[in-house]
Point group: C2
Chain length 424, copies 2
């Protein structure tokens, strides 16, 4: 069957999956956990094949570590599934209930999105996280993982899919795509697929966004800022910046630009520069920064995403200056102010137009697990639907249910009846 | 100034508008009401010019009625503004507050979308409704109305914009576009405009959706269904169908397709057909329907949006049959089941994948005013962000605020600290 045929079947089955009770959906998750445990050795063996292929291709040790699937990773995954089972049902939540008139009642009730396509990087744990989040939220999912984990993903998918069938979920509620060409096929399925969640490089996400009519959730850039205010406690500022820049440079929530208030620049910059250089961070800065510390000069259009041990430095004159820079050059992901001045912090957090606005803590906290969402399918820099780390809440929509007893609009248009709009 | 320059200024001012208190935003609404009252005669005079031009162009009486702006319409508008002032602030609502660890607290807080472009039909009340909704929700708006109300819109916009300035809102928080060519200019402003809300014909909305990178909220089609179940009370069914088809045929929430259970078709269809024919409704139906009543035959691909006194009829064998037809042929707008069987109603309302799922009442209730939203900027058939009639709630997004005291991720990655995720 082609991807188009598979997702068409999926679309037909989606309302049936949506109608399953949370008890049934949790039962599926519990079965997945049980079967992962029982078939662990098969997954490890499959993973061994991926690792050998990766070694043959001369893949870097850091990446090899991410590809590896062992008891430690399995244990983390099993804890994650347990947490997910424990979370409240995201479906059927009533967010509005209003009597419009006698006998005419309106409810706004959460419901699944339907059919979601997720394209993710080569990380074996991603396939498990994404498919369990989708099952818990009543969504059908097409899963396409990175090719470096082909064997591991195939083994994991078989276990997960078998588990879903064993508890009686619809056969096409989960589908795996393996070929890169199937991504392009998927992009054309706007009549069946409700949402795409691509994860990976900027160029890849941008390619997806430009080549489909399906709504896309995710983010291309992650240009995060830290603004060090005139009233900053610099003893807090340095470790926060070091953490945000160096704790995991390849993450989208790593900091890329540091804005420093002119009033403290001369005292603060040399200390910051020394610490960052000791950690191997390359410094780039405006000409003005270059008068205080030794930096590679950058122009006004050089405030980019490095995803590496490089940072941009610039001076500003006020919190409003910082806000303007961030709103103009940033990617609306996660931005932080370091200050002991509550008023400045409030202003920054109100006016910076980003999914995450932080005060005195590292931008690296922008993550579904750290936020307590159990897991995340991605981070959204869109302002629509879901913003920031996306967990169960971001995988549901709502519908309005209106229940009457023969009510017609003509009675209200003519003035014979009137709405009374009582919350119930 | 070009539209591009205007919206760029607007984008810069948007965070300042977002920071105004609800007291200030309500003050702006009250000032608009006061000034509309004081300058009513000027608006009526401007409206007279539009009406004369329309008459010269031989515009239909029904449309003329919609163009007219008189004391009655002004009174409705003033009531609407009063209601809007009375509604709670949609901004700053906290929907999640969680202590991640000691001293590290996460809040999810509602905030404005930013810059919204609204393109609407020739109805003078639309301009007032949309601009007041945007001010209340802290959003900047570019407003482009239908050309048949050019003079009226210009007069209304001047009053509204002057009022905003009088209470001290940013000068570019509201901008009017008047030329059709400015729409194309606006479509290219994806770096400054956060959202477009087009209202009007399917072809127009589709044109907008296909020609911009800006997210679009709205709907192209409105193919609404009524399913008359085997357990329907047919005394309720007939008036509901008449209302849904004839009360206002040009509306997107008017019904287009009636599905009837085979078990009751022979008894029910002749009565329904007679009543509809008496109201001037043309009947189209499948060959099977044609064996029971006199209809123009339609094929399986003929279930379209008429926006006229025409209806499609088809028989089904079960509630699941009806659900499948609606999910496949429908536009996910508003669909209704007529039945006295609660189980069938529940199944229908759960499994039909539409913004509105109704039981025993007319589809024409799908409307922001009738839902008690005060007003609406449009109806969304997207599953993302806002679904169904869109009022204040649909004009806000949220941001995550994280407040720490020097917290860094390295401490959690190393196991030195652990998250405790307490709701507060």
């Amino acid at each position: 069957m082609s991807i188009r045929e598979k997702v068409r079947k999926m679309k037909e089955e989606a309302p049936y999956l949506a109608a399953f009770s949370v008890k049934k959906r949790n039962e599926a998750l519990a079965r997945i956990a049980k079967n992962l445990r029982a078939h662990a050795e098969e997954v490890f063996a499959a993973n061994q094949k991926d690792l050998e292929a990766a070694e043959g291709n001369g893949i870097a040790p850091a990446v090899m570590k991410r590809l590896k699937f062992d008891y430690m990773k399995l244990a983390d995954i099993l804890v994650g599934i347990e947490q997910l089972i424990g979370l409240p049902d995201p479906l059927g939540k009533v967010s509005l209930s209003r009597e419009l008139d006698k006998g005419l009642t309106l409810y706004r009730v959460s419901s699944p999105i339907g059919v979601i396509g997720v394209i993710f990087e080569a990380r074996p744990d991603a396939l498990v996280q994404i498919s369990t989040l989708c099952i818990k939220s009543g969504n059908c999912a097409i899963l396409k993982g990175g090719k470096e984990t082909t064997y591991t993903n195939r083994a994991l998918f078989k276990i997960i899919h078998d588990s879903a069938l064993q508890v009686g979920l619809p056969p096409n509620c989960l589908v795996q795509a393996e070929l890169h060409s199937e991504i392009d096929e998927l992009l054309a399925c706007h009549e069946s697929v409700d949402l795409l969640i691509p994860r990976g490089s900027n160029a890849f996400v941008q390619h997806i966004m430009n080549n489909t009519k399906i709504p896309v959730m995710g983010h291309a850039d992650g240009i995060c800022h830290i603004y060090v205010d005139a009233d900053a406690d610099t003893l807090k500022a340095v470790p926060i910046i070091v953490d945000a820049k160096t704790q995991y440079t390849a993450a989208c929530n790593a900091v890329e630009t540091i804005l420093v208030h002119r009033k403290i620049a001369k005292a603060f910059l040399p200390r910051l520069a020394q610490t960052l250089k000791n950690r191997g961070v390359r410094l780039r800065g405006t000409a003005e920064v270059g008068e205080i510390i030794d930096v590679e000069t950058i122009e006004d259009d050089g405030f980019i995403e490095y995803l590496d041990l490089i940072v941009s430095l610039k001076l500003v004159s006020s919190v409003d200056d910082a806000i303007e820079h961030i709103n103009f050059f940033g990617s609306h992901h996660t931005d932080c102010i370091i200050t002991e001045n509550g008023e400045n912090a409030d202003r920054f957090m109100q006016m910076v137009d980003s999914a995450g606005v932080y005060w005195n803590c590292s931008t690296r906290f922008a993550d579904g697990f750290r936020y307590g969402f159990g897991a995340e399918v991605g981070i959204s820099t869109s302002k629509f639907h879901a913003r920031g780390p996306v967990g169960l809440d971001g995988l549901v929509t709502y519908k309005y249910k209106l229940i009457g007893d023969g009510h017609i609009v003509a009675d209200y248009a003519s003035g014979k009846k009137r709405f009374h709009h009582k919350e119930i």
